[in-house]
Structure formats: structure tokens, C-alpha cells
């Protein structure tokens, strides 16, 4: 009896040790992988929510030796990751913040990739009567005047940055107003909140189009040159953070502006939405966009 018990204890301990070894082996499996193969791409939610990256990343991974870890956050957070050296390459759409990012020495080789446009969307009955208003700043003034519910991303994303610029242009400070609510969520979820609460919001057209079927929100203001939404790719500066994967970042940036990729971007979304979600712009100048 005693021997039996003992052996049982020993067997159990052995199994435990084995399982634990399996666990730890798993835990440190990441160490064994060649470290320079991974690229951390910090990007905005819109490139993921539209499905664009799901198309592009596999092609890139097939063509090169790299494995891309896409972290979809707001542009603000993506740049914060770059500032800490926790990303290798950024695909973002917050031009003013990007310029500062480059000026502060955190990024290099900022290249224009593509654009689409922002739109102001809202409920069909449009209580603030902004439908068809040409200037986005004027439209926001009307929303403020009518105290129509406005949903802001409130997350320092590229869209949020654009929204703040537009409010400034309208000479209104909406923060703290009862009709102004910050969701702190990604674009897709913010659109859902706006739809649910019948509010207005600023959205990038790509995400709006890919979510449209479930939303019941209408495009109310579009076409204003203030509403351009421009995406750049930026390599994180390895001079500040030596652990940055420079060749990987370079390869990805080059891939994004390559002819082949630009052609894919040009037609992406055509089959599903009848119109492209993004317009490829590699090699163009920002000033010439939207003309």
C-alpha cells in the first residue's frame, strides 16, 4: 500500500514536471524564433477594419522573409509606440502629428501611400440640417448650434486629430458640452455607437463603406478639401532605438509604395462596395491630392 502510494505520488510529480516543461517550452518558444524576422507594424484601425491589410500583408510575407505583427490602434497610439521604439514601421494618417514625429527625430523616410476622404455622417432625419453643406467647418457649427449629438473618437487617432482641426476651424470648443461625447473606441465601434444613438460623427470613408450595411447612417457632408484623409508610411528611427528592425521596416515601406501594391490598393473594395476605398498616391505630392 505504501509503495503503491509512493509510486503514485512520483508518477504524478513526473507528469506535473513534464506538463510544466511543456508549458515553459511554449513560453519561451518566442526566443527561438530568429529575431530579425519580425516586423511590428503599428497602424490605424481603419487599415484593419476595412480589410486592406488582410489582403496586403500575406502578399508581403510571401515575397519576403519577414513576419508582420500588425498592431491596429489609433494613429496617436501608433506613433507613441514608435516614439518608444516598440514598433518598426508605421502606417498612419495624422499628418500634423507625423510631421512633429519626424521633426523630433523619431521617424525617417515618411512616404505618401494613399488617401481617401473623411465624411461627416449622421442620422437620416438630420436634426441639425447639415446635409449638403459644402464646408465641413460650417456643418460642425450647425451641429453645435442645434446641439445635435456628436460622437468623437476621443482617442488621439488620426480621425480624432482631423476632427479637432475642424472644430478649431469652426471656432468652437465642443469638449465638455452635453451634446459632445467621446467614445474612446476605434472607428468601427464609434460608427456603431453613432448609429445606435442617432448621432453625428466624423469617419473615414473606407471604414464607413465597409460597415455601411448595418449602420443606417447617411453621408451628410463630403468633398470639402479639408476632409482629405492621407496615409503615410514611416520607418521608426533606429538611431534612437537600436532594436528597431531597419531592413524589415525599409522592406515594408518599399512594398507599400511599390507599383504592384499601389495597383492592389487602387482596386481594393471595388468588388464589394462598387467603389474603391483608397486611392493610391505613391510618388505624388500631398498638395496635388484631391484635385
Amino acid at each position: 500500500m505504501k509503495i503503491f502510494r509512493n509510486s503514485k505520488v512520483i508518477i504524478t510529480l513526473m507528469i506535473a514536471a513534464l506538463l510544466f516543461a511543456f508549458g515553459t517550452a511554449n513560453v519561451f518558444a518566442g526566443m527561438a524564433a530568429p529575431k530579425q524576422k519580425n516586423i511590428i507594424l503599428a497602424t490605424t484601425t481603419s487599415t484593419q477594419d476595412t480589410g486592406l491589410l488582410d489582403v496586403l500583408i500575406p502578399i508581403f510575407e510571401k515575397e519576403t522573409v519577414y513576419f508582420v505583427k500588425t498592431i491596429a490602434v489609433g494613429s496617436g497610439q501608433a506613433m507613441a509606440m514608435g516614439q518608444k521604439g516598440e514598433a518598426d514601421v508605421l502606417l498612419v494618417h495624422s499628418p500634423d502629428a507625423e510631421k512633429k514625429f519626424i521633426a523630433d527625430g523619431f521617424g525617417v523616410n515618411r512616404m505618401l501611400v494613399m488617401h481617401n476622404d473623411f465624411i461627416i455622417v449622421g442620422p437620416g432625419d438630420d436634426p441639425a440640417k447639415i446635409k449638403g453643406v459644402k464646408s465641413s467647418a460650417e456643418a460642425l457649427k450647425l451641429v453645435a448650434k442645434a446641439e445635435g449629438l456628436f460622437l468623437s473618437r476621443g482617442d488621439n487617432s488620426g480621425t480624432h486629430a482631423k476632427e479637432k482641426i475642424l472644430w478649431k476651424k469652426a471656432d468652437i470648443n465642443p469638449v465638455g458640452q452635453k451634446w459632445y461625447q467621446e467614445t474612446g473606441l476605434g472607428m468601427g465601434q464609434t460608427l456603431n455607437v453613432a448609429a445606435e444613438k442617432k448621432g453625428y460623427t466624423l469617419a473615414d470613408r473606407g471604414t464607413y463603406l465597409s460597415l455601411k450595411k448595418n449602420l443606417g447612417l447617411d453621408v451628410l457632408v463630403e468633398g470639402d478639401s479639408d476632409l482629405l484623409n492621407i496615409y503615410h508610411v514611416i520607418e521608426v528611427n533606429s538611431a534612437k532605438w537600436p532594436k528597431v528592425n531597419v531592413p524589415g521596416a525599409k522592406a515594408f515601406a518599399a512594398f507599400m509604395v511599390s507599383k504592384k501594391t499601389q495597383n492592389i490598393i487602387k482596386t481594393f473594395g471595388m468588388d464589394k462596395f462598387g467603389s474603391p476605398l483608397f486611392f493610391p498616391d505613391a510618388g505624388k505630392k500631398v498638395e496635388d491630392l484631391g484635385k
Binding site: 505520488v9 506538463l19 510544466f20 505583427k69 491596429a72 473606441l185
Partner: protein, 232 residues
């Protein structure tokens, strides 16, 4: 309502068609949370038992801390693990941020206090004379502990279920330390969040149903073991 029906239909479609992506996500969820639960089991049961069986100064404080840990918010764990393991952090040399390994670590940290707290209570709940009785029958200390653990089998399996339930359903830490990378660190919960963000509610509902089914199956197996008649 229509949406829920659509979601249920979608779930069946995805399960019956053996959709490779969903299958991969489900398997990864099971693997990560299973491994994390196993790790938490060894740490949790051993420390829980040790604390239950020894008397020391400040024991109540330690037990309070363990019990507080049972409610450890996953996002808090996610945040701290991220800061510790990111490239330029103290454990950056491991290079495990945005890997399944990082998710296992974070989930093990979440599950361990749960398992520990319940096993501690389970062992403490045994009749106090049992220990003396076993020892007087000539058992060694290790054997005594083993018998006690066996006696507390029911609540201990409940501890495993609670630990596993806590981590398989957790999203905050997984998305932070795993990054929700397609085909690599995307699990059922993080995929559900993403599909909701994309407005694909039917897929999101389908993933939720698969998650519930998975949790149910795992608990079914564990309950079978728990409710089995005492062998010998």
C-alpha cells in the same frame, strides 16, 4: 433578434465547414488558456496548500492578498506584462511581446490567484483532525499533503474550472500582449472584439457561440472527472 439567428446560422456554417481560420483560432484559444491554466494549477495549488497548512505571522494578510488577486483585472495584468516585456523594457531581451507565449504568461498570472484562493479555502475546509489522523497512520508529510489534495478533489477541480473560465473568456490582457495578429495570436475573444469593430456582427456572434461551446466542452470533461466516484 434576426441578427442573433443569423449569427447562430453563421456559427453552424463555420463549424460544419471546418473553416480553417476559425478552427485555428479556436485551437489557439484552447492551447493558450489550457497551458496558462496548467501553469496556474501547479503554482496555485502548491502555494495555496502550503499557505493553508502552515501557520505564520501575517497569514491573514497573505490570504487577503490572494483573495484580492482573484479579482485581478485582466487589463491591469496586460498593461504591466506589456511594460515588462516590451523591447526596451526590463525583460525585453526575451522578445516575446505580441506572441502566444506572452499571452500564456499574462493568462497564467490572471488564473493563478483564482486557483490559489480556491485551493487554499478547499484545504482549510478539510476537518482539522484529518491531518493528525493521516500522520498517525504513518504517512510522510508529502503523502499527507497528497491525501489532503485528494480529499479536496471536488473544490480543487472547481478551482481549475474557475481559472480556465477566467482566462478563456478574458480579452483585455490577450489583446494587449498578443496584439490580435491574424493566424498567430488571434484568439476567440480578441477576434470577437475585432469583428464587432468591423461591423461583422454575425461572425462576432458565431465566434461567441464557438467560445461558449468550447468552454462548455472543457467544463463537461472536468465535471466528469470531478463527479466520478472516489476510486478505491
Amino acid at each position: 433578434m434576426e441578427l442573433i439567428v443569423q449569427g447562430i446560422i453563421k456559427a453552424f456554417e463555420l463549424i460544419i465547414s471546418f473553416d480553417p481560420e476559425v478552427l485555428g483560432i479556436t485551437w489557439l484559444s484552447l492551447k493558450i488558456s489550457g497551458t496558462a491554466t496548467l501553469i496556474s494549477l501547479f503554482i496555485g495549488v502548491s502555494i495555496g496548500t502550503a499557505v493553508a497548512l502552515t501557520n505564520f505571522y501575517g497569514k491573514r494578510l497573505v490570504i487577503s492578498l490572494i483573495n484580492t488577486g482573484m479579482g485581478l483585472p485582466p487589463v491591469v495584468v496586460g498593461l504591466f506584462v506589456t511594460i515588462l516585456i516590451w523591447r526596451n523594457g526590463p525583460l525585453g531581451f526575451l522578445e516575446i511581446l505580441y506572441t502566444p507565449s506572452a499571452m500564456i504568461i499574462a493568462q497564467a498570472i490572471i488564473a493563478t490567484p483564482i486557483v490559489m484562493g480556491i485551493s487554499l479555502a478547499a484545504i482549510q475546509n478539510l476537518p482539522p483532525n484529518l491531518r493528525l489522523q493521516i500522520l498517525s497512520l504513518g504517512a510522510s508529510r508529502l503523502q499527507m499533503v497528497w491525501v489532503l489534495i485528494k480529499e479536496a478533489r471536488l473544490p480543487l477541480l472547481a478551482a481549475i474550472m474557475a481559472g480556465f473560465g477566467g482566462v478563456i473568456s478574458e480579452v483585455g490582457a490577450s489583446i494587449m500582449v498578443g496584439g490580435n495578429i491574424k493566424g498567430y495570436s488571434r484568439v476567440l475573444t480578441t477576434a470577437t472584439v475585432m469583428e464587432t469593430g468591423k461591423g461583422n456582427f454575425d461572425v462576432a456572434i458565431a465566434l461567441s457561440i464557438i467560445l461558449l461551446l468550447l468552454a462548455f466542452l472543457v467544463n463537461l470533461v472536468l465535471t466528469q472527472i470531478q463527479q466520478r466516484q472516489h476510486p478505491r
